[in-house]
């Protein structure tokens, strides 16, 4: 099949399908008069019955959808009592669970409808009610809350907290399918989850409540990493005094295996159940999180029970990173004799905390005491943030996992740079005295150099064209063997440049197609990769690059990143398929005198930055098999064993070692957002014209800038919640901090800067709230309107006289654009009926620009006259939803538009013409912007990986 022929097939196929099926044969016969095989091809494709329920129609997802394998409930869409059931979330032995809306209180809840069989049995019901009341008294962030037990339409139902997130069972199942050989969750995640589960059990046990059915399916993890334990004490409404009342087999389909696997020996024998049954189940869950496998699994129920009673779990399956404290804890939880079992789940919390305290400290500088944790929260992804939220002690950011053969155990970590923005590819000179790296500190990526210990940095390429930063992790610079020069890659397709440390003009080095050179330890030769086409032979040349000879011929697999072993006998390199985001790279080695290459790792992941520490150990950066990372790994070259040596908190994007292997430099990344400013010029501004917008209080996350009066407002994250900050007269202050309410949209600031309207999100709905500019007197504003519009964009604006607020959304009568008096005196006035969102009010008060709903990508702007709601015709301009602001003098509208990249444009109202204001190439997610009051600059936020460079000194 050729592409040309296929095009014929395709157009005939689609054309034939538009005809009634009876006419198709004739149609094809006519069109394919001279080509019988074409007709047969199209017909055979037409004959394929393409349904919507075939193999390809459900995504190849290995994770569980909560939608169960049972037929969808008949109850979705019905109303039960004061609750409107919206969707079925799951079904279990205890009934069906729905997402529902509490119409009285206006909140989303989960409703568990109990089977009719239960409602008839009054004794069961009474016992059940008693337990529900006890549970209602449990108030803990790790326990799914019960709001009530009600009855309607002959059905009893529980009203529960609606928890967002996947269950632990779903997460473990996903992991098991995707990486069956590897162990379960990373140890720090396990400890963080285990601590929360244990705390939930502790609180319940203190109140005399036993869960009785703890299992991964009953443990949900919210997107923020908060554990919610569900179904406390409700699984067995029959009293705990005999398994006979509630046979293991169960009468509900599918309850069988899952429940049996977590039963304690006592439960299995039908003996009295006390809190130690929960402790047993906890042990099973902990085992499963660590290993990815169920502790006691059998083909049938009796097999499983047999294992529970007779056999120990496979202790050898525990990952080697498991602390011995945890191993002991596991054995005690899973002691078959209840008198030997751990008695108090509270001990689990204490033991986990003790692990945390025992780990080594990290210093933040060679001379000063550790810096206050102001930027620590900016470092931590959801795992550790959630731990913060739950009040758990957090693993210090840069502390590697300490195991017996971790080469970085006892190493000293020092933060080398603390800049906002991105650093990349840090390299250390062979003598360990200089560090070079790429950084965008001055707007575009440049090559920076610093001497260790001086705290001074110099930009080596300030006067050169910007260097290209890439999203892929690949070595782009390095030191020459004598440490006197640096090579770097200015852009693809250009030759490498070599620049002396003492300055001077960089000169072309090695010719086009050569990359990643590495000098031998004795400085006589260098090895590099040569890629004129798509082949990558490795070449060795003398130290100036002359007399090159090939030591590895080109082939199917690509070679990359060669480095020398300390004795100069071997060359280690990365080999695999390209491009970098394919999961098939490994570390190999080759004799420097030539020969066959030998594979050293079986990692099959994105591998790069090989840094030999000594004859036996190689550090490198790689993603894990599940694509997490990238992390720092160590390879024992002799035993061909790899081990991850960074904790699961920091991502490592480069590593490089000095020649003696005692000093290592690494780039550590974490995501952040910062503010930038770019001037409005006569020509399109480029990356070079954009600069960081410095804030008085540095923050890891600054978003949504808004000017008003003489102040700048912006949103900033402080770990668990978001805050609204204000900068005035060079001082920054936090106006508002919302711990449990998210702030994402930029605030709407009154023209005199005295009041602020924010969008407050709660349980999925957005509403307005007004407060003074110092955060006091916060009141709900226009509560009847549910705000709509592009998420994270401005959703409300003030009139220039400060008398009105305009916003888009919906009220009880339906969607529309509304203007509301800013200070009492009347309700919302509907300016536009129908969907209208993200309005901005012109500085002369006579025009409001807004958008209708966006379908794909961009929207057209619309206009309306605020006085009477008359439509104002606007030039046809496509904009990013919510991405437009008036110039302060009202002469035009600045907007964001994506053509090739996302850029700022200006719609001039006088000429009705648009012109391009910026031509950015920089990466990062640009979300919102505003114009400075003098009309000279656009200030915008940009979210990116923030990175810092870390120096690691190993003991001698």
């Amino acid at each position: 099949m050729t592409p040309e022929r296929w095009k014929q097939v395709e157009s005939l196929y689609h054309a034939a399908r538009t005809r009634p099926s009876g006419e198709r044969a004739a149609f094809l016969a006519d069109r394919c008069r001279d080509d019988e095989s074409l007709r047969r091809e199209v017909e055979s494709l037409l004959n394929e019955s393409v349904s919507d329920e075939g193999f390809l129609d459900s995504p190849a997802s290995a994770a569980a959808h909560v939608a169960p394998a049972v037929t969808p409930a008949a109850m979705s869409g019905h109303t039960l009592g004061g609750y409107h059931l919206e969707a079925l979330l799951g079904a279990g032995g205890m009934g069906e669970v729905y997402r529902a809306r509490d119409t009285k209180l206006g909140r989303d809840v989960a409703i568990k409808v109990l089977p009719r069989a239960m409602t008839g049995d009054s004794e069961r019901l009474a016992r059940f009610e008693r337990e529900a009341r006890m549970l209602a008294a449990l108030n803990h962030p790790n326990i799914c809350a019960i709001y009530g037990l009600e009855e309607a339409d002959g059905l009893r139902f529980l009203i529960l907290e609606l928890v967002d997130g996947e269950t632990l069972a779903q997460k473990l199942a996903a992991l098991q399918i995707l990486s069956p050989q590897s162990s379960g969750l990373p140890i720090d995640v396990v400890l963080m989850l285990a601590r929360q589960i244990a705390e939930a059990l502790e609180v319940a046990h203190d109140k005399g409540i036993i869960h009785r059915d703890l299992k991964p399916a009953n443990i949900t993890i919210t997107p923020d990493g908060v554990v919610k334990v569900l179904d406390f004490g409700l699984a067995k409404p029959a009293s705990a005094d005999g398994a006979g009342a509630d046979p293991i087999g169960g009468t509900q389909a599918g309850v069988i295996l899952g429940t049996a696997a977590y039963m304690s020996p006592q439960q299995a024998r039908g003996q009295v159940v006390d809190k130690r049954a929960d402790i047993w189940a906890f042990g099973c869950v902990l085992y499963e999180m660590l290993t990815g496998h169920v502790a006691f699994a059998g083909e049938t129920v009796s097999d499983t029970i047999g294992k529970i009673l007779e056999r120990e779990p496979d202790w050898s399956a525990l990952p080697s990173t498991t602390p011995s404290v945890i191993r002991r804890l596991l054995r005690r939880c899973l002691a078959k004799d209840p008198r030997q079992r751990l008695r108090d789940i509270g001990d689990v919390r204490l033991e986990i905390d003790a692990i945390d305290e025992a780990a080594p400290e990290v210093s933040d500088g060679t001379t000063s005491p550790p810096a206050p944790p102001k930027t620590r929260t900016a470092w931590l992804p959801w795992v550790a943030l959630a731990a913060l939220a739950a009040g758990v002690g957090v693993w210090e950011a840069r502390r590697p996992v300490t195991t017996a053969e971790n080469p970085l155990a006892n190493a000293q970590f020092t933060r080398f740079t603390d800049w906002e923005g991105t650093e990349e590819g840090a390299e250390i000179s062979p003598d360990g005295k200089f560090v070079a790296f790429l950084a965008d500190r001055e707007g575009e990526f440049d090559l920076w150099l610093s001497q260790v210990g001086t705290g001074r940095f110099s930009n080596l390429t300030r006067n050169f064209p910007p260097l290209a930063a890439s999203g892929f992790i690949v070595r782009k610079l390095g030191f020459s063997g004598d440490g006197a020069s640096i090579w770097f890659n200015p852009a693809d397709g250009k030759p490498l440049l070599l620049m002396d440390l003492i300055g001077g003009t960089p000169r072309a080095f090695l010719g086009v197609g050569a990359n990643i050179p590495a000098w031998s330890p004795d400085n006589t030769s260098l090895v590099y990769v040569y890629k004129p086409n798509r082949d990558d032979p490795m070449l060795i040349a003398d130290r100036t690059g002359a007399n090159a000879r090939q030591i590895l011929p080109p082939g199917v697999l690509k070679n990359n990143n060669p480095v020398w072993s300390p004795d100069g006998q071997w060359i280690y390199f990365v080999r695999g398929t390209e491009p970098q985001d394919e999961m098939n790279m490994n570390v190999w080695r080759l004799r420097s005198s030539g020969g066959s290459p030998e594979q050293l790792t079986n990692q099959h992941a994105a591998v790069n930055f090989l840094a030999p520490l000594d004859a036996r150990t190689l550090l490198y950066v790689a993603r894990a098999e599940d694509w997490s990372g990238p992390w720092l790994w160590a390879l024992d070259v002799e035993r061909k064993v790899t081990r991850r040596v960074s904790s699961g908190v920091d991502q490592y994007t480069s590593v490089s070692a000095s020649r003696d292997g005692r000093r290592v430099v690494a780039t550590v990344a974490n995501p952040s957002a910062s503010l930038w400013r770019v001037p409005l010029l006569d020509r399109p501004a480029d990356d070079h014209d954009a600069q960081h917008y410095a804030l008085p209080v540095p923050t890891g996350r600054a978003l949504a800038p808004r000017f008003g009066g003489s102040s700048l407002f912006y949103l900033s994250a402080r770990g668990t919640g978001d805050g609204l900050w204000k900068v005035q007269s060079g001082q920054a202050s936090e106006v508002r901090s919302e711990a449990d309410v998210a702030l994402y949209e930029p605030p709407a600031v009154s023209p005199d800067g005295s009041r602020v309207v924010v969008v407050v999100r709660h349980e999925g709905k957005r509403h307005l709230s007004m407060m003074s500019a110092d955060g006091t007197n916060a009141q709900p504003f226009a509560p009847t309107i549910e705000v709509e519009g592009a998420s994270g964009q401005g959703t409300a604006d003030w009139s220039p006289d400060g008398a009105w607020i305009v916003t888009g959304g919906r009220d009880a009568q339906g969607p529309g654009l509304f203007k509301i008096p800013a200070q009492g005196g009347g309700g919302p006035v509907r300016l536009v009926a129908g969907q209208a969102v993200n309005p901005v009010w012109s500085p002369n008060g006579k025009l409001i620009v807004y958008a209708g709903r966006s379908v794909v990508g961009q929207v057209a702007i619309l206009g309306v006259r605020p006085d009477d709601g008359a439509a104002v015709e606007m030039p046809t301009v496509l904009v990013r939803p919510g991405g437009y602001r008036f110039l302060p003098n009202g002469s035009g509208l600045v907007y964001l538009q994506r053509i090739q990249g996302l850029d700022f444009w200006l719609l001039d109202f006088v000429t009705k013409q648009s012109r391009q204001l910026t031509r950015f190439s920089n990466q990062g997610i640009l979300r919102t912007f505003d114009i400075t009051p003098d009309g000279k600059y656009i200030v915008f936020d940009r979210s990116r990986q923030n990175s810092d460079i870390v120096l690691i000194d190993l003991p001698q």
């Binding site: 099949m1 494709l45 394929e48 995504p59 899952g258 795992v383």
Partner: protein
């Protein structure tokens, strides 16, 4: 579930990166950026599932991928290993003369992207995506059955 997005089908492979997106943009990620991100994830997913299928096919034949020892609410992929391998082979063949359709299948089947998200990633209209999806499914179905034509 009404309106449930492809987001719930993200697996452990992309959990950390999804968390990164959430951290940076809040829970309402611009769905266009998410679409581009999922497009990369789709390629990764395909590789992982296919490699796993090929590797295990070498060891055992048939049977479900995992024993059902979890809660019944779990839907574990029932597709046998054979199907993933056959699909991958067929997709490579398709890509030889129509890269876009192969990509549509990859994005929608391996990445779980919706029609709109696929349209954004491939820069075509949703109608084109639907047309591609239909024809590609027909072709793949036929090929995987072994009833392919010998049209060169």
């Amino acid at each position: 579930m009404a309106g449930e997005r492809a987001g719930h089908s993200l697996q452990a492979t992309v959990l950390v990166n999804e968390a990164y997106l959430r951290l940076v943009e809040g829970t309402d990620v611009k769905w266009q950026d998410r679409a581009h991100f999922l497009a990369v994830a789709a390629r990764v997913m395909r590789r992982i599932l296919v490699d796993h299928a090929r590797a295990s096919r070498a060891q055992k034949r048939g049977g479900p991928i995992t024993k059902v020892t979890f809660d019944e609410a779990l839907v574990v992929t029932n597709e046998s290993r054979e199907d993933f391998v056959a699909l991958d082979d067929a997709l490579k063949e398709l890509a030889a003369f129509d890269e876009r359709k192969s990509r549509v299948i990859e994005l929608r089947f391996f990445g779980g992207l919706s029609v709109e998200e696929t349209a954004v990633v491939l820069k075509v209209s949703p109608a084109t995506v639907m047309g591609d999806w239909r024809l590609a499914k027909a072709w793949l179905q036929r090929e995987m059955r072994g009833a392919g034509s010998h049209d060169a």
